[in-house]
């Protein structure tokens, strides 16, 4: 890992300011050089015809592009990257079909395998992750396990993420330093600044950062701007990872922003920023590693924008062919597939072949099916969990009263009211914890 001694931004600013403030004076509260011609600008590259460059290491066939400096990588690590990437579509296929069969209520397809796994691999396993909802791969990388994934999606009694209270894919695990997902978009972004500030204040966590994931749609929310502003102004080590996959449900990024993506906003907040090819796992790995280093050195936020393309529908509630051409998606899948790209790279190195591919796919499918079959037949948590975890400490009178009211109603009608009778069977102890209260 290359580690450069970076001069602090403010140091640079002061230096250049002192050079340019000789004669025409200066304005209050800024080090701006004074110019005598009106100067409008609308670019962070200095040239409004040129977009922010995107960092890439491997081309579409897995061959390093000219001048690429690959990260140090051995076969074991490369295989780990690939297996974790490959696990996501395998899980996707099963869970997607399970949802179609009505066995779980909802599912979002993942995709963006290189962005998620590349980031996960670049982070330390105890970096605090605040995700949006396509970051299951980070948890899997950290050993969360397929059983936990399935338990959460089925909301069964093994679901420790939310005890069946949240929709599928709303994972959370303090053990894996993964903060519980919530559905509202972008709320995690200012929270990440607070998390990182807490890390800064904990001497034993001085080598940790917060990693905050979000999509380009979420970056339109006010919380995005608040979060970046806070994490730079109240210096806090957050790596912001924007997954720009081109769509927020139906809305293409061309209707989401007029500027140059999410990257162009970083400098507005004084944040070091990089745009990276999000389908190139080695580029993402390198960019996030470096971002993390800068973050720790400067104690301030860094922004990484990963460009990709959402090949799946937004979720099981969406059919994206209502707003984009099927051929466009198929083309993307074929030409710009992050899995294929890295597989070809590994094949070129002699680290992978068709047998390994077959073995992996068979194994992953079997693992996923096993976890699915286990989760499917598990009961839910006890019904009484409806009323727990609301407050710490003493239970207030209203919650107590309402729990007792439900208990009374179940005693009175639980045997006779068919919709309740059927539903109670799905819970551990079939509601007896409340009925016998």
């Amino acid at each position: 890992m290359l580690r450069r001694a970076l001069p602090l931004r403010s140091h640079i600013l002061h230096q250049s300011a002192s050079l340019s403030t000789r004669s025409p004076g200066r304005l209050p509260n800024t080090q701006s050089p004074i110019v005598s011609k009106p100067h409008f600008f609308n670019s962070v590259t200095g040239d409004s015809n040129e977009q922010i460059p995107a960092f890439r290491l491997l081309d579409g066939t897995g061959v390093p592009i000219e001048g690429a400096e690959l990260p140090e990588l051995d076969e074991v690590f490369a295989r780990k990257l690939y297996e974790n990437m490959q696990l996501l579509p395998n899980l996707d296929n099963i869970l997607y079909n399970v949802q179609r069969q009505g066995k779980i209520s909802f599912y979002v397809r993942y995709g963006e395998e290189a962005t998620i796994i590349g980031s996960a691999a670049a982070l330390a396993d105890d970096d605090e992750v605040l995700g949006q909802y396509r970051e299951m791969g980070v948890l899997l990388w950290r050993g969360f396990g397929l059983d936990n994934v399935m338990a959460q999606c089925f909301g069964n009694h093994e679901d420790t993420s939310s005890k069946g209270r949240q929709m599928p894919v709303h994972f959370g695990s303090p053990k894996h330093h993964f903060h519980t997902i919530s559905s509202p978009l972008a709320t995690q972004i200012p929270q990440a600044a607070g998390v990182a500030y807490a890390l800064r204040r904990s001497p034993e966590r001085s080598n940790s950062v917060a990693a905050c994931f979000f999509g380009e749609g979420a970056a339109s929310e006010g919380d995005f701007h608040a979060g970046l502003l806070l994490a730079s102004t109240i210096p806090s080590p957050v790596v912001f990872i924007a997954r720009n996959n081109g769509f927020a449900i139906s809305t293409p990024s061309s209707e989401q922003y007029y500027g140059d993506g999410i990257s162009s906003r970083g400098p507005g907040y004084g944040i070091d920023t990089i745009r990276v090819d999000g389908n190139d796992v080695l580029a993402v790995l390198t960019a996030v590693r470096e971002a993390r280093e800068r973050c720790l050195e400067q104690g301030r936020a860094v922004l990484v924008e990963c460009m990709s393309y959402r090949v799946g529908h937004h979720s099981t509630s969406d059919d994206s062919f209502a707003y984009r051409a099927r051929s466009e998606v198929e083309d993307r899948k074929r030409i710009d597939n992050p899995l294929v790209r890295f597989r070809l790279f590994m094949e070129n190195r002699g680290w992978w072949n068709i047998e390994a591919e077959e073995e992996l796919k068979t194994r992953l499918k079997a693992d996923v099916l096993k976890a699915f079959k286990h989760a499917e037949v598990q009961s839910r948590w006890e019904l009484g969990e409806l009323f727990t975890d609301i407050y710490a400490g003493e239970e207030p009178w209203n919650i107590k009263e309402q729990r007792e009211e439900l208990s009374r109603l179940l005693k009175k009608y639980g045997e006779d009211w068919e919709p309740w009778k059927r539903e109670l069977q799905k819970f551990k102890n079939e509601g007896q914890d409340l009925i016998k209260e």
């Binding site: 949802q99 209520s105 209270r165 929709m167 919530s182 209707e255 009608y413 919709p419």
Partner: protein, 483 residues
């Protein structure tokens, strides 16, 4: 997820996509009640209420639809204003069409766009039809300048709407004032659960706009639509009923329709009302309610509740999805399933009720079911008039009990009157203070509120025990009757 709308919707999208690929126009006419692709349909994940299709509260015939109480035909209103009268004041010759609720909303939006050049419709994913299909085809029909996607920011969406509306100098129904094209802003927030980033704009800006400017500025042209309430599988963030939080937002109106016809008439009223309105659409009703809806331009009044079934022994006040659960509960009361505990509970309670009221052994209580429709400001006088007959009150809603609409109504009845209104000086029918006093002193049982529990949101796997369902409502009715 969040932006997701919910699984049953997707299937419809799938079918829609097949038909929209050739034609995107005339989509409001599409009634999707019969599936052409049933093989594709996943088993319902609970996102429907089987009782709704058979509800007698829905207007299944043209005649029923045209006789809707309180309906005002836009052309008749015009005649009246001109001092002319014509056939337009009658129902003769008026058309109706079978529509579900999202189609009726789409129809209302289309009328708003075609009758008011200043009207714009916007929000996340609105241009392709919206995740619940309420804006389907409108962008193609009225152009992207008037029907458009916004970036994903609720505070931005509502703030933008406020600014646009503020340029309308909207007085009464005249939408084009002297300030150019601004005026009628119809914003969509994708789920009521996501309205909170816009709460500042709604509470601190929209509601106070007129008041803070001494009446010089207003944002009467603003309507904010959002899907609300539970749907069977929405979990914490696609199920909430946030109307209770708006109860203190004086200056703002809050409206919740129960059916396609009501949705169309109330939405057009909201759009044309000289006040900003938050219009919450119970999302489980988008597809599960189907009615004959008049095709012409009409309104249903704001601020007026509606008596759905008339009765003399118990007043049940509700709104939105819960209307149908209350209807079912009343059915359970009059026709309890034979030979089980529910029948026993009903028999027992009605015995107590008969003893306390001195009615004979065969008499059955009749229930007055009221749909509030406008939540803020709500129709207290109608509730009080009903109470003067029934002397018993039950209020039902999905939203949390504490801080909810039910507790507000209960509070208005038990603590509302002042000492001056207990005097004998004002005897008029419209004397609210006197009506409140009489309602309170006339109560024969404590007011009962059945709402969602005070848990932080509707927990996914526990929803069936969170939402007040038919049997819980029945039990509440029995409790109030037998008191």
């Amino acid at each position: 997820m969040r932006r997701a709308s919910l699984p049953r919707l997707r299937l419809w999208l799938y079918r829609r996509q097949i038909s929209t690929s050739s034609s995107t126009r005339s989509t409001a006419a599409a009634t999707n009640t019969t599936s052409t692709a049933s093989a594709l349909e996943p088993p319902p994940a609970g996102g429907h209420l089987p009782s709704i299709a058979s509800s007698t509260l829905l207007r299944h015939t043209r005649e029923q639809a045209l006789r809707t109480p309180g309906i005002t035909w836009a052309d008749a209103e015009l005649d009246e204003a001109r001092g002319t009268s014509s056939l337009s004041t009658t129902t003769a010759g008026r058309e109706t069409r079978k529509m579900n609720m999202y189609q009726a909303i789409r129809d209302a939006l289309s009328i708003a766009l075609s009758t008011d050049d200043s009207a714009i419709v916007f929000g996340e994913d609105v241009a392709f039809g919206g995740v619940f299909r309420c804006t389907l085809g409108l962008a193609e029909e009225y152009g992207r300048e008037r029907v458009f996607n916004t970036p994903l920011t609720e505070q931005g969406v509502v703030g933008f709407g406020i600014g646009y509306a503020s340029m309308g100098s909207k007085l009464g129904n005249s939408t084009l004032g002297g300030r150019g094209m601004g005026g009628t802003a119809i914003a969509e927030v994708q789920f009521a659960d996501y309205i909170w980033p816009a709460f500042d704009q709604l509470l601190n800006e929209a509601s106070k706009f007129r008041y803070r400017s001494g009446g010089q500025f207003n944002v009467g042209g603003l309507t904010v639509r959002c899907p609300t309430m539970a749907v069977g599988h929405g979990g914490l963030y696609h199920s909430q009923s946030p109307e209770g939080f708006f109860m203190g937002a004086g200056g703002l109106k809050v409206v919740i329709p129960r059916s396609p016809l009501q949705a169309k008439g109330l939405l057009l009223s909201s759009i044309r009302d000289p006040n900003p309105v938050v219009f919450m659409e119970p999302k489980v009703l988008y597809r599960s309610t189907v009615e004959q809806v008049p095709t012409s331009d009409f309104t249903v009044p704001l601020g007026q509740a509606e008596i759905l079934t008339s009765g003399s022994d118990l007043t049940v006040v509700t709104y939105g999805t819960s209307v149908y659960r209350c209807e079912q509960a009343i059915h359970l009361l009059t026709h309890p399933p034979e030979g089980n505990g529910i029948e026993k509970a009903v028999r027992h309670a009605l015995g107590d009720w008969r003893r306390s009221t001195g009615t004979n052994v065969s008499s059955k209580p009749t229930i007055e079911l009221i749909d509030l429709r406008t939540i803020l400001p709500y129709d207290l006088p109608l509730v009080l008039r009903s109470l003067s007959k029934t002397h018993r009150l039950l209020i039902v809603h999905e939203g949390p009990t504490t801080g909810g609409v039910g507790m507000q109504i209960a509070g208005d009845i038990v603590s509302g009157f002042t000492t001056s209104s207990t005097g004998s000086t004002s005897e008029g029918e419209g004397d609210i203070g006197r009506m409140r006093r009489d309602a309170f002193l006339g109560l024969e049982a404590p007011v009962k509120v059945i709402g969602g529990w005070d848990t932080p949101g509707v927990a996914l796997q526990y929803e069936k025990f969170y939402i007040p369902d038919e049997v819980r409502i029945l039990d509440g009715m029995l409790e109030v009757l037998a008191y």
